[in-house]
């Protein structure tokens, strides 16, 4: 039996073309029972290869096999660097077979900055000039991987030459190589690319054109403005691709060249961003792509998703947005997790333009949030992060923290912790909530939070809300103290949190009188003992400083401090510590006991951290000293700027003198003082003589650099007024970004007006009520729990718009008050405390169902209620609407606009098309009958999008059957026999190995 097996294996050698040992190795590794066994096998192989590879006169074919084995070893994660040089040598070989193996190996082994690359450059240069196009291809593949910034000039001329090669495969690879060069170092290839981009763009071969799109995408994302004039030619190309004008071989599952379409859509998104004219030209073709993409197949959905991305990136168009919204709804309602994921992403894009859209899908979003699929959950949290506002921040941050607790992956944990902090900083409803949230974040991700956050938190506690309400502040502090005393019980707190805790306990532990000094000190002593570790010195420092403060407050208040024995022991321990810092702190504390209350009170005043430190820059207390020194003959002080002027004068003089020398001996120019953009919190009069320096840590001394205006500017401290929200604004903060804010507010306003106008008062606020009921009927199993969550997440959607309406001008006051009342009503109905009451009130958060096209269509036809249309109109004349013409008739603007866009498109488009030298791709009938098509396409968009949204099942089967498979039965039998020869039997440990991948 054993012999038979061996015979079989020997037979296999001939059939496979590789040597017996190698097949054995692959097989043995395949059958290895454990990782350790696999390691051992690979190590043996490496030892063997090390010996064999350096033997003299290894036949080249043998060497080729060794190199393939090296690749295998490296692929399994072991170091094969001893053989790299052999692979490099192999690229020098004249035989293409060996050369190709060599190139494959070096591209897999070497990164672009490896030392050995220098040995290959010459070969690559030679091969790029080869007559054989396969050699060129191999070299170009290597170029893409191995050439770095310094070596680009060595091969650039050859690569550029190959752009005109007769074989399209070579041209394509040359373009890709240029793309790679551009990624590495845009400057070196900039002029080449700018010269060639138009020429190669119009290559006859679609593959070359598609490769060129990669380059163009990079160029355009770097600088969209210089490529805007090309918009029309991209639109034309996309149109032709959609119309199946490319050869059939580029079709993929019946979709016409979808990968090229996606690349073009990405480019259009870049070109259309913030450019209304360019966007206008795209609307038609985007509608076409959206309409023609098969929603049943994966590739169709990929196209649709890309379309949504483009539509939401460019200047908005109501009809397209509507279709995009419909497709997003379809994604969200799909059974497939992939589509749900994409739907959540698309939703995030759409709500940037129309925040109300999220409301319709609240239940779908909540389903995704509670889905067991981790990826989906993360994506949903990301979406929630984007739509957070002050009304729902508590729920969202709570969710995030819950999720954060379950995480082990520090990368994502950092991410989500910083998001929690950002949201809390921006939207916190109360300081108390803020402190509590921060505590949670610190507790679960303390090591991953930047220290600045802790300082901000301490400052908040110290300074309160920034208003003159001492009671609220002290209440805040005592609640902080309480919460920290609770947290201290828990083991293993991160050192950053300990810092905050110690500081707060030290400053305010005894402030409200509920806790005795002895108790606080005891707890502080425990802190240091309970947290040994790397940061033990730091933690002890925090604790001793806090104890010092508590003691000094006691002394200052005239009470006698009795140190409990643990504390005394702690102080003694620290005074003998290796750390000089700890020693000093301990001695300082002991020294304090010697002073009386007035001195201690002056040294460490209570709540001193909130006081402003005032510094007089002219340092008047030194006047006396200066005078005495001057009288003794010292040089008078020259201010820095005068001194500088003097030196530059001198150096100019010197320069003119020694200008003939190449070396400069004068010092470097002094760096310019940066002009600080500070908001002065305290302005000090210059005659103020007092200097009050206290040692509170969170304050930063910041002298003013402006010496010219001493009286008004004087000196000041950087004490950015601590408000409730001090985080930086992001794109989500609608009211912060001025233009978006204006648009939004007008939008909200005219929505209000419009609704009022159209409804005649009756359905002002709850026009979608009946639909919501039907929605509820459809899904009766939705639990009250979920609805409550939905209400708390989405319930406040209108409040934002509402506030912006209020601010947008008096002329709309009527509307805004109307809205406001409605919102109040709504808020009342979604009171999350009483879920039963909410369930019985169907008006709560009525989502209009966009998928429900029947109704929607009627609504559009009947009146101008469609909010999207209003949106479009408003965008068109943003300038005039908010101030003077609140009731401007905006509803029929889109149509006019489309007509004109179309006309201009035609003129430009046909001109450009004729310049493209692709006979196959020029639409012959572009001039007139096409125009009818385009218009009807857009007109028909609304009416037909229902059909697009509906699941089209046709075509799926034909798509899968279109793939031509090999002769299945024969070949698999053959393979089976072959593998049996090798000695691997299907009954072995992994019978799956024989399964066809595509089945």
């Amino acid at each position: 039996m054993e012999q038979l097996k061996n015979i079989g294996r020997e037979l296999a050698i001939g059939s496979q073309g590789s040597s017996k040992e190698f097949l054995e190795l692959v097989k043995a590794i395949g059958e290895a029972k454990s990782k350790a066994e696999e390691e051992r096998l690979v190590m043996e192989e490496i030892e063997m290869l090390k010996k064999k590879i350096v033997e003299p006169d290894v036949p080249r074919k043998r060497m080729k096999e060794y190199i393939v084995r090296l690749v295998y070893v490296e692929m399994l994660g072991h170091d094969a660097s001893f053989g790299y040089i052999q692979a490099v040598k192999m690229t020098h070989d004249d035989n293409l077979l060996l050369k190709r193996t060599g190139y494959l190996a070096v591209t897999l082994f070497l990164n672009e900055d490896h030392d050995l690359i220098i040995l290959i450059i010459n070969t690559i240069q030679k091969d790029l000039r080869s007559d054989n196009y396969l050699v060129c291809c191999a070299a170009l593949t290597a170029v893409c991987k191995l050439i770095n910034e310094e070596t680009i000039p060595a091969v650039l001329p050859q690569v550029v030459e190959l752009l005109g090669h007769q074989k399209e495969a070579v041209r394509k690879k040359a373009v890709m190589a240029l793309h790679r060069f551009h990624q590495r170092s845009p400057a070196t290839v900039a002029d080449v690319i700018s010269k060639l981009s138009m020429k190669i763009m119009h290559d006859v071969d679609p593959s070359v054109m598609s490769a060129c799109l990669c380059v163009l995408f990079d160029l355009i994302s770097a600088d969209a403005n210089s490529y805007r004039h090309l918009t029309n030619s991209y639109v034309c190309i996309l149109k032709q691709v959609v119309e199946h004008r490319l050869p059939k071989q580029y079709n993929y599952h019946n979709a016409p060249a979808p990968f090229i379409q996606i690349k073009l859509l990405k480019i259009l998104a870049l070109l259309g961003t913030g450019d209304k004219g360019a966007s206008n030209n795209m609307y038609n073709v985007l509608g076409d792509v959206l309409k023609k993409a098969e929603p049943s197949g994966n590739i169709g959905n990929a196209l649709i998703y890309e379309c949504i991305s483009t539509i939401t990136a460019i200047h908005p168009n109501s009809k397209l947005l509507e279709s995009a919204a419909a497709q997003t709804s379809r994604f969200l309602k799909s059974e497939s997790h992939n589509l749900k994921y994409m739907g959540i992403d698309a939703l995030g894009r759409i709500i940037k333009i129309n925040p109300d859209f999220a409301e319709e899908h609240q239940l779908a979003v909540i389903d995704c949030l509670e889905d067991p699929d981790d990826t989906l959950k993360r994506k949903t949290l990301e979406l929630l992060y984007k739509m957070t506002k002050s009304s729902n921040v508590e729920v969202i941050v709570d969710r995030m923290i819950c999720y954060m607790k379950t995480l082990t992956d520090s990368h994502y944990k950092t991410d989500i912790a910083s998001r929690c902090i950002e949201l809390a900083e921006r939207f916190a409803p109360s300081n108390q909530w803020f402190i509590q949230t921060m505590n949670q974040v610190f507790e679960h991700a303390g090591d991953l939070v930047p220290p600045k956050v802790a300082h901000d938190l301490m400052r908040l506690i110290a300074e309160g809300a920034g208003e003159e309400d001492e009671d609220a502040d002290s209440e805040l502090r005592s609640s902080a103290v309480e919460s920290y005393l609770q947290i201290l019980v828990e083991p293993k707190l991160p050192s950053l949190l300990l810092q905050v805790i110690c500081w707060v306990l030290g400053e305010y532990g005894t402030a409200d009188g509920t806790h005795s000094a002895a108790y606080i000190i005891e707890r502080l002593c425990d802190v240091a003992e309970a947290h040994p570790g790397d940061d033990v010195v730091k933690v002890k420092g925090y604790a001793i400083s806090a104890i010092t403060k508590v003691c000094s407050f006691e002394i200052a208040a005239g009470k006698k401090v009795h140190l409990i024995p643990e504390c005394q022991a702690f102080i003694d321990e620290l005074s003998a510590s290796h750390s000089t810092d700890l020693q000093q702190r301990a001695y300082e504390l002991q020294a304090l006991f010697a002073f009386d209350s007035s001195v201690v009170g002056a040294v460490l005043p209570f709540d001193g951290s909130a006081d402003d430190i005032e510094v007089d820059q002219s340092l008047p207390f030194l006047n006396h000293y200066v005078k005495s020194m001057l009288s003794k003959g010292a040089k008078p002080y020259i201010p820095a700027n005068e001194r500088q002027a003097a030196t530059t004068l001198a150096s100019q003089h010197v320069e003119s003198y020694v200008s003939s020398h190449s070396l400069r001996f004068d010092p470097y120019e002094k760096p310019q003082m940066p002009i600080m953009a500070l908001t002065p919190v305290t302005t000090l009069q210059s005659d103020d003589q007092s200097i009050d320096i206290s040692q509170k840590a969170t304050q930063v001394f910041q002298p003013s650099f402006d010496a010219d205006t001493p009286s008004s500017e004087a000196t000041r401290l950087r004490l950015e007024g601590v408000q409730r929200k001090w985080g930086r604004p992001s794109y989500n903060n609608n009211s912060a970004s001025s233009s978006a804010g204006a648009e939004r507010s007008t939008n909200g306003a005219s929505n209000g007006l419009d609704i009022e106008k159209a409804s005649g008062g009756k359905q002002g606020i709850v026009p979608q009520e009946p639909k919501y009921v039907s929605d509820r009927n459809k899904q009766p199993e939705i639990s009250a729990e979920k609805q409550k969550l939905a209400a708390s997440l989405f319930g406040g959607v209108t409040s934002k718009a509402d506030s912006s309406v209020r601010s947008s001008g008096r002329s709309q006051k009527q509307a805004s008050t109307n809205r406001h009342v409605g919102t109040a009503k709504r808020m009342q109905t979604v009171d999350p405390v009483d879920s039963r009451a909410q369930a019985s009130l169907p008006a709560a958060t009525a989502p209009p169902d966009l998928l429900d096209f029947g109704e929607e269509e009627v609504a559009i036809a009947a009146s101008s209620k469609d909010p999207m249309k209003d949106l479009e109109g408003l965008f068109d004349n943003t300038g005039s609407v908010p101030s003077s013409q609140p009731t401007a008739p905006v509803t029929n603007l889109p149509n006019i606009d489309l007509m004109s866009l179309y006309d201009s498109d035609l003129g430009l488009g046909s001109g450009l098309v004729s310049s493209i030298r692709v006979p196959d791709m020029i639409p012959e009938n572009l001039p007139n009958n096409d125009s009818g098509d385009r218009l009807t396409v857009l007109d028909g968009l609304v009416t037909t999008s229902g059909a697009v949204a509906g699941p089209k099942v046709q075509g799926e089967t034909s798509a899968s059957s279109a793939i031509k498979k090999g002769p299945s039965l024969e070949s698999s039998l053959e393979k089976h026999a072959r593998s049996r020869q090798v000695g691997v039997t299907p009954t072995g440990p992994h019978p799956d190995l024989f399964k066809d991948l595509l089945k």
Binding site: Q16, S18, V26, G30, P59, K61, V68, E74, M75, L76, G77, D79, L97, T101, L104, T107, L108, N111, E112, L134, T141, K145, K172, M176, H179, P206, S207, C214, P247, Y250, F259, I262, N298, A302, Y305, E306, H337, N338, K340, Y341, M342, P372, D373, D374, K379, H411, D415, I963, K965, G966, P967, S968, S971, S972, H990, D992, L993, D996, L997, L998
Partner: protein, 161 residues
Amino acid sequence: MIHFVLLISRQGKVRLTKWYSPYTQKERQKVIRELSGLILTRGPKLCNFVEWRGLKVVYKRYASLYFCMCIGAEDNELECLEIIHHYVEILDRYFGNVCELDLIFNFHKAYYILDEVLLAGELQETSKKSVARVIAAQDTLVENAKEQANSLTNIISQATK
């Protein structure tokens, strides 16, 4: 841009790796370990994407083999899924009902084909026919070269006898 391509079997064995962004050998091992832990444990109905270190990994299972591609945060996941499928279809056409065993023993061929589909982290060829043509041309050339080499070695061996 595609940062890397991994083929991992259900048992966590590496079948093919291709790195388009620079990773050291150590990092590569870490990436493979991390990702096989993430991906192999996922259930069948979950979505085919994993967010990972600010990037996205799109994977698809064919029989017992997982094809994974790591793409940037701005890339289209569904498109990437189709790129994987595109590659598998080309493999299938080349090997005729491709199975894992084909890739195990002919991994270098899988590399050659991958080099024709992806280049420098971008999809370079969307036509299956074009890929097949180039691969076939290479193969015939290789065959010719082999014969030539054989005849040469024969001549040499006979001459040196």
